[in-house]
Amino acid sequence: MQSPKLLRHAWTVASKDLLVEFRSRTAILSAAVFVVLVLVVFNFGRDPTAVSNVDLAPSILWVTFTFAAILAMNRAFQLELENQALDGLLLAPIERSSIYLGKLIANLVFVAGVELIGVPLLALFFNVRVLPYLGPLLALIALATIGFVAVGTLFSAMTTRTRFAELLLPVLLLPFMIPPLSWAVLATGRLLAGRPLSEIVGWLNMLAVYDIVFVTLAVFLFPATVNE
């Protein structure tokens, strides 16, 4: 595996994906609208005397990010099917892993975009103070996002080519998405409640290990998911 080439090809795939998304912007706007809707729903649904903002904010944040991730992963391979370009990609003399990495990068950029919209909106709507914790919060979000997007991208790649597995994707995906997501929610809660950083270091470590394990696994396993 020639690593610079692998990364270059991955970047080529990712930047093409991002260009296409930038041209149509459908997915990112759907995500943004969804963020607003979620915030409105919780805004009206919440009895301000019973439920305080800080208690809800972490869950709301991660629900919208999950939505963005699901959207991104659907988009990633849908795009190739729509343009019937998947065969072309598979035929190109590039490491299979670079297709995976490319899709992963594009998905991460996409989800990061939604997160960049989501965090300030949350702060605005719910009057949650995020600025004091911005550094750790961003680190936390980044780590957790990488984890579940990495697994999700792998599975969604697997299922675009096989009809049966498509039914299985959700079932397969759930057990893998739940751990990073639940750590992230818990850690975000502590963070926004103003607890000391040391309380969430454990979770951050867990997330980092999860990311390393699954990104590595996915890079090595991806070639096996496409016909060789």
Binding site: H9, L19, N83, G88, A92, E228
Partner: protein, 224 residues
Amino acid sequence: MLLAEGLRHSFGAVRALDDVSFGVSSGQTLAVFGPNGAGKTTLLKVLAGLILPQRGRAQVEGGRRAIGWIGHQPQLYGQLTVRENLRFWASLYDVPESEFLLRKDSLLGRLGLQDHEHRRVSELSRGLVQRAAIARALIHDPRVLLLDEPFTGLDRMAAEELRELLSEDAAEGRASVLVTHNVDEGAELATHIAFMRAGRFAHFAPRAGRGPQQVSEDYRNAIA
């Protein structure tokens, strides 16, 4: 340069390839004719490595990098321009920038796409998309061409140009497999001819100077 040995493949109960073997060497062009559903597309996909055959083996000298492929679908992104598409595929094939520019200009020029270079593919007419798909398949100067009905949607000038491109390629030592329904279009380019039917080669032989007329007749006899 291209070798197929005992290829078999079924989709469920449908036998799409049934013991197909042949070879194509440098400078040769194999034209494959056959009725709809005979397994021609499946054969090309197996040769390209897009389908793993259930039995048998297909081999292309030089691997994936050597293959230029025109399929039923253009494999272009509608939201990108012709130029952006070509650049994307070229960079996946590690074509250096300078060579890319040269080949792109020559291909677009010959295929009459100069004026459409900066238009999005989704805005082009069918024939123009097909021309762009041809440019895409040739942008990395492939040694082996796998062409599935490449004349589809082309007008007469473009079809003429494609025939010329293909015969130049053959003269330069490329090997090709060409699938088409129009004997007039395919016969003269071919050095070898195969008739396919229900997943099998009903006939496979050098063309030996036979014209479209005769090939047509042979086809009728072989398939009926």
